[in-house]
């Protein structure tokens, strides 16, 4: 099938998409946007989190066809040119990035949290990020990063 989708503000088209492909697969393998990650591909780890019409979703659980005509914003679409989004900058500064495979999903999830709750409590941060697995950091520096981003925004 042919898929039309707006990604990071740009209208994109993908041809010969097999109906069983996920939005994650199309982003990564057909549209040259591998930033969203493929850690579990079963909706458990959050590493593939993207905005679909402003709602964060696991793109591995969205069939490509479901994104037809809709707007997707990925981790690649958060920075403003060379200027990182405050959430991205905070992850770098706080040491919240080790292997970084969980980072794109966490950055999108934290970005969404701060859009909704500009000054979250620790409990609110934990709840909002509970769907994103990280194996390297033990999460402490991720919490630091979100607090830092909240202050910076």
């Amino acid at each position: 099938m042919r898929l039309n989708v707006t990604v990071n503000g740009e209208r994109r088209q993908a041809d010969d998409v097999w109906e069983g492909e996920s939005l994650l697969y199309v982003l990564r393998e057909r549209l040259g946007l591998p930033g969203s990650k493929n850690a579990c591909e079963q909706g458990e780890c959050g590493s593939c989190t993207v905005y679909l019409d402003d709602v964060p979703v696991c793109s591995c659980l969205v069939a490509a066809g479901q994104a037809e005509g809709r707007e997707v914003r990925t981790v690649e679409g958060l920075a403003d040119g060379d200027a990182l989004d405050p959430v991205q900058q905070s992850f770098v500064d706080a040491g919240a990035v080790q292997c970084g495979f969980c980072t794109p999903g966490l950055v999108v999830a934290a970005h969404d949290l701060l859009n909704r709750v500009p000054d979250p409590s620790d409990e609110e941060i934990r709840e909002a990020l509970a769907g994103n697995l990280c194996r390297c950091t033990g999460y402490e520096k991720i919490l630091d990063a979100v607090r830092l981003a909240a202050d910076a925004r």
Binding site: E41, T74, G95, G100, R126, L133, C136
Partner: protein, 763 residues
């Protein structure tokens, strides 16, 4: 002196001891860092692997005809297509690249497909017909040691037995405590799945881009299987999404290379999460029998232990795991009389190998559980009994090795004990702080709190006489009017932050700000593995040594051209500085178009093999220590545990990058928490029952409590900068501290990890 103000600045602020940001951090937060599963090549195919559904079976036939007929399929390969030796393995080449006449574990690779789409490849796999004669699997390690059951490999089912005999063997004591302990099979659960891209080359070889922990040991095994010379198999490290030991063994490396060479096209392979559970080795499950004898004051007289480690179908790093568990089997204590026997065995369970802290993690659950039992038997506080037996610098290990640098077990424990405990639950109720969380399973009724302590020991770097080295090249030249250094190694950045550390070392030693870390590949000599907490020590040591050679050559050159004595010159802040006359010249001017380029192969001091009868020998390079205190709330009715505090004190010798050190301690402690209360690959007759993140649980941000951490810096005079490997120790003591806390809360014996709800409710 006048020189200092002018030469500090950036190079000191970003040198060792500072916490500059990671050079790859910005790319990672932008989603632009190329991990091994992100690679793409024009005209590339997708590879897929057919795996055995049986833990143990004879293969009676493989028919690939129907799979080959699927449109879009370019190749279907079996063991007959392996041109070299169809065997590989980290320490013993006992594992087929593709199974021949027998499969020894559920998930063993049998055939490969290359196709134009991953779904096409998957469908073709379904059309490969394999005939099996299913056999009764061997699943028990102790039975293997007893010689029961069929031999899975020509030498029998014992991979290695290490005895340790120290002091009197028939000694008795006034107080004796015994226990049998079990550790479940843990998974590394790195997030980036096994993956890579193999590109066939014009010279008949292959270029492989892969996520691994040790490029050269991969290369060695790949060339043997492909029957190619090393120069025709070139590896480059792709972005690594975590490792923790699980990437020490080969996964898709040979398979993708075979498909690429066979089809003449680039081939990408990416495991999904389920396949990842079959595609890498796990932490050895253990059964351990301990007997501790002490006097009435709680001072240890002897320790006897038998430790059984199930290595699964293939040897992987079982030998080294056995060595660690045996030599570290009594823990960080001064024990005059020791009798330890440790075995690693073959079975038809999933293969086990390296995972963070290997061997030491299993033993620590045994000996720390015993120390708590001893404290109770002697009527002592658990910290007090540990203090009375704490080893220190100068202690003789059960191997006869004298510990010749800081071993601050006493200080770790006393500092830990002095840290404030978390506040009691009181006042307003927040479900999110209770066991069960927002599932709303309790409002505090039936919830009890406990506190537990544990301390652990780990050998750092490779042991037992292994020729452990790393190779580094450092180049200094002027680029665009600025002095710039380039560092080349084959050391794998797996997330730990080695790339940052290497930059810091260069800034400190050469006084230049601009440091480029070249891509890691096999065009330079081996760096050894990113494991055993060794890479800052080893490749950091190698880079430092190369930098010092560059600096010496540069200073000699500067002395000649500037007309000063060599002995008075140094480099800092991009300047050549004289001890007497301050800044003499800009580095760029001294370089004057010349480049200084040095390559060094660097070794730590040698170690010795263990005596095969007594286990005596100076087997280890360095010991690392950490201690944890855990506080838990336990819902005794539902068996739910909430870890409310997990505090840690660790000696790191020298914190080259304090932020990264904390990151290692936090992350390592989290993996220990996982083993304590949730993480286990559950097997039934050799079959994994939970190969997914739905059923294999790792800690989330809700499970990890805030941590108080104190870092000691007691320099090891034998190590570069006095550093002590950081990565593994925090994983070791975290688990037994949490279980001790659960025991303190519930009064239950709890002799197995992970602790499950039914262990707490008795249902």
């Amino acid at each position: 002196m006048t020189i200092s103000t002018e030469t500090t600045s950036v190079t000191e602020a970003q040198g060792i001891g500072a916490s500059p940001v990671r050079p790859d951090g910005t790319m990672k937060v932008r989603g632009e860092f190329a991990y091994s599963s992100d690679l793409w090549h024009e005209d590339m195919l997708w590879g897929a692997t057919l795996r055995s559904p049986h833990p143990y079976a004879r293969i009676t036939g493989v028919d690939i005809a129907a799979a080959l007929a699927v449109p879009g399929v370019y190749a279907v390969l079996t063991h007959a297509d392996v041109p070299g030796v169809n065997r590989y393995g980290l320490e013993h080449p006992d594992q087929p690249v593709l199974a021949e006449d027998v499969v020894r574990y559920r998930g063993e690779p049998i055939a490969l497909v290359a196709a134009d789409h991953p779904e096409t490849a998957r469908r073709a796999l379904e059309r490969i017909e394999v005939g099996y004669e299913v056999l009764e699997p061997v699943t028990d390690s102790e039975a293997a040691v007893a010689g029961e059951g069929p031999a899975l490999h020509p030498g029998g089912n014992v991979v290695r037995h290490v005895p340790i005999r120290r002091g009197e063997q028939d000694v008795t004591a006034d107080v004796v405590v015994t226990g049998t302990y079990e550790v479940g099979m843990q998974d590394q659960a790195f997030l980036g799945p096994e993956s890579g891209l193999a590109v066939p080359a014009e010279d008949g070889g292959v270029d492989l881009y892969v996520a691994t922990q040790w490029l050269h040991v991969d290369q060695q095994q790949i060339v043997a299987a492909l029957g190619l010379p090393p120069e025709q198999v070139r590896l480059t490290l792709a972005g690594v999404g975590g490792a923790f030991g699980g990437r020490e063994d080969l996964s898709m490396q040979v398979h993708a290379s075979l498909l690429a060479l066979h089809t003449g096209k680039p081939v990408k392979m990416v495991y999904n999460r389920e396949e990842s559970f079959y595609g890498h080795v796990h932490r050895h499950p253990a059964r351990m029998y301990y007997e501790h004898g002490a006097d009435r004051d709680g001072r240890l007289v002897y320790v006897k232990a038998r430790i059984y480690l199930d290595g699964g179908a293939y040897a992987s790093s079982t030998s080294a795991v056995v060595g660690n568990a045996a030599t570290l089997g009594v823990g960080p204590y001064d024990v005059p009389n020791v009798t330890v026997d440790c075995w690693g065995t073959y079975s038809n369970n999933p293969p086990c190998g390296a995972m963070r802290g290997f061997g030491a993690v299993q033993a620590a659950f045994g000996y720390e559980s015993q120390m708590d039992r001893l404290a109770e038997a002697c009527g002592l506080d658990p910290v007090e009994v540990r203090l009375r037996n704490a080893m220190s610098e100068g202690t003789v290990m059960p191997t006869g090795q004298v510990v010749d640098s800081a071993a601050p077990v006493e200080e770790l424990l006393t500092r830990l004990r002095s840290m404030p405990l978390p506040e009691d639950r009181s006042g307003e109720l927040d479900l999110r702080r209770l066991p069960g969380g927002v599932s709303n399973t309790t409002h505090g009724e039936g919830v009890v709190r406990g506190v537990g302590y544990a301390v652990g020991i780990k050998n750092i770097c490779f042991s037992e006489g292994f020729d452990d080295y790393s190779t580094a090249r450092v180049r200094l030249e002027a680029v665009g009017g600025e002095p710039a250094a380039t560092v080349q190694t084959a050391a794998c950045e797996v997330g730990q932050g080695l790339v940052t550390i290497l930059q810091q070392i260069i800034r400190t030693e050469l006084g230049v700000e601009q440091v480029t870390i070249l891509p890691m590949d096999t065009s330079i000599g081996s760096a050894g593995s990113s494991s055993a907490s060794r890479q800052t020590y080893m490749t950091g040591g190698a880079v430092r040594a190369a930098a010092l050679k560059v600096r010496a050559a540069l200073v000699a050159h500067a002395a000649r051209t500037l007309g000063h004595e060599q002995a008075e010159l140094s480099v800092a802040g991009g300047k050549v500085v004289s001890r007497h006359d301050g800044v003499l010249a800009d580095l760029v001017d001294v370089l004057d178009g010349e480049a200084f380029d040095e390559t060094v192969e660097w070794r730590h001091r040698p170690t010795e093999a263990l005596d095969p009868e007594t286990g005596q020998g100076n087997a280890h390079v360095q010991y690392g220590f950490a201690a944890h205190r855990a506080a838990v709330d336990v819902d005794t009715e539902l068996g739910l545990v909430k870890v409310v505090a997990l505090d840690c004190v660790q000696d790191v010798g020298k914190a080259l990058n304090p932020q990264a050190v904390l990151g290692q301690i936090q992350g390592g402690s989290a993996q220990g928490l996982g083993l304590a209360v949730m993480e286990e690959i559950q097997t039934d007759g050799g079959v994994i029952r939970n190969p997914s993140f739905t059923d294999y649980l790792i800690p989330t941000v809700l499970d990890m409590p805030p941590m108080r951490i104190e870092v000691l810096e007691l320099a090891d005079p034998h190590a570069p900068y006095g550093l002590r490997g950081v990565g593994e120790p925090p994983t070791i003591s975290s688990t037994p501290a949490i279980v001790a806390a659960i025991r303190a809360a519930t009064g239950l014996a709890l002799d197995r990890v992970p602790v499950r709800p039914e262990h707490l409710t008795g249902t």
